[in-house]
Symmetry: C2
Subunit: 164 residues, 2 copies
């Protein structure tokens, strides 16, 4: 019931007019699903691990970059907004999940890396996060997944090559 | 080049590990596309009309609700975050694009509606917005669109019925 209500609130297609272009319908459905999944992940991470989505995302970026990232790179790579990057870094460093070391040749730049403890904690959270995503997308057949991957790939390519 | 750089920055699939589940890949691709399209719309609305995405979204919700919405309803329906709802309403009212009237029987609740001028201005912006979305999704065949609509529908239904 709670989920049903949230989906109805966030579902804007129901208010579309008949003459809206099918691209607009697809874009709103894409945005609705993306917002719904993100909201669900946000609340589960908070309930189960007491972590915010931006902090989880911050750790996820580091996990994918074994050589570490500068704060600037981290800031650009964050998938979700709402986080103050240096505030997050200060807190995660205090908790021993990341460390920051000066970049050789540029003492004002810092390279951020996961600590061993940070990597271990992230791994536990990432496993649950993956389970949730698998469940949420569980209604899709392999064929559906392939179709959507290929459609979204075309969209991404167009966005990369398009002028303006 | 600029678009290519933005897509590379925001494209997290390239950092995926081989053993990541295909659901995670699909979710990250979905999120990447959704973020990219939203960022593009945000910057075009600003350049062409000097309007923020939350303000555009606010007007779009009203356009789909000819009987008007209360501030609470508007707040729940907003598709994009980052806007201070009452700040947006105050500004749009000052510009003559919306009006606010007390709800009968509840003097502390306000019903918000587009003015004639607001409707006309929104219509012009919405037409351009639609063109941009059509262009961005223009690499998709009708079959791709159908496949994605049907996949996303399954996702939405699962999110609505799933327990927890």
């Amino acid at each position: 019931m709670k989920n049903q209500a949230i989906v109805e609130q966030l579902d804007h297609e129901s208010r579309l007019q008949d003459d809206d272009h099918h691209s607009i319908r697809l874009w709103l459905r894409l945005l609705t699903c993306s917002n719904l999944i993100e909201a669900r992940l946000r609340s589960r991470l908070r309930e189960e691990f007491g972590i915010t989505l931006p902090r989880f995302d911050f750790l996820a970026q580091l996990e994918r970059a074994p050589d570490g990232l500068t704060m600037g790179e981290l800031s650009k790579r964050m998938m979700v907004s709402g986080g103050n990057i240096s505030g997050i870094a200060t807190q995660l460093e205090r908790e021993g999940l990341i460390d920051r070391t000066p970049v050789v040749g540029n003492r004002r730049m810092f390279c951020v890396r996961l600590t061993t403890e940070g990597r271990a904690q992230f791994k536990r959270m990432a496993a649950r996060h993956e389970q949730w995503v698998v469940e949420m997308l569980g209604a899709l057949s392999s064929r559906d997944v392939d179709n959507m991957m290929s459609g979204l790939k075309k969209v991404k390519q167009r966005l990369a090559t398009d002028e303006g």
